[in-house]
Amino acid sequence: MLILTRKVGEKITIGNDIEVTVIDVKGRHVRLGIDAPNNLPVHREEVYRRILEENVRAASSVHEIKGLDELEKIIREKG
């Protein structure tokens, strides 16, 4: 892993078209500005991971879809 030190306002570049700017540092919080191409998703790691894990859970859970028909019935009755 590359580790480097930056001051507020300084940047790092990754490849040809990604730029990360250190906007502000307050205590334990660092604000970053990220310029990346539109097709390159940028996410907070923990949020990304939460959705990723839920997707994996969702995909494996469809092997046990007990309750779907019951739920469907409830929805229909409500409707």
Binding site: H43, E54, G67, G79
Partner: protein, 161 residues
């Protein structure tokens, strides 16, 4: 075109009904092509079946059925990426998770990572919303009080295979 699926066996699909996720779903970056079809005739639940991986399928639903108050903005860059020109181009889906423990029949919907589909060009993407505002496992059983007027629920009619 015929595709193989673990759950449904071989099924016939029309190529122009394929939904393309150029980046895949989170956790499944290599599976980029799916088809959508209802769980049963007239069902509110749909299967999102991978074309490339027979055993990969998700159940999804229009999230507004799970929570009528659900709303979010599609960022401009996503509109651009999916080439969305009109609001009517857009369909929203949310993935459903079934409980492992059937004694707690809590079926949940992922409102944190909704799927946006441009029904015109059939390009789709899973968004990442703000976790402070949207739950990843919104319980559907508690909240099925949505308006289920069929005339309003046009979900997916246009993106189904």
């Amino acid at each position: 075109m015929e595709i193989k699926t673990t759950r449904f066996g071989s099924i016939e699909i029309e190529l122009d009904k394929v939904i393309h996720f150029p980046q895949g779903l989170l956790g499944f970056p290599k599976q980029t092509k799916y088809v959508l079809f209802p769980h049963k005739k007239g069902s509110k639940f749909f299967w999102l079946q991978s074309i490339e991986q027979p055993d990969l399928a998700f159940v999804c639903i229009n999230p507004f059925i799970a929570n009528p108050q659900y709303e979010f903005d599609i960022p401009d860059r996503i509109e651009k990426e999916l080439d969305i020109k009109n609001p009517s181009d857009v369909e929203i889906l949310a993935l459903v998770t079934f409980p492992k423990d059937v004694s707690v029949p809590q079926i949940t919907v992922n409102l944190l990572g909704p799927i946006v589909v441009n029904v015109q060009n059939r390009q789709a993407k899973q968004l990442v919303l703000d976790p402070k505002k949207y739950p990843v496992n919104y319980p559907i059983l508690l909240t099925h009080t949505a308006q289920l007027d069929d005339s309003k629920d046009t979900t997916s009619a246009s993106i189904m295979s």
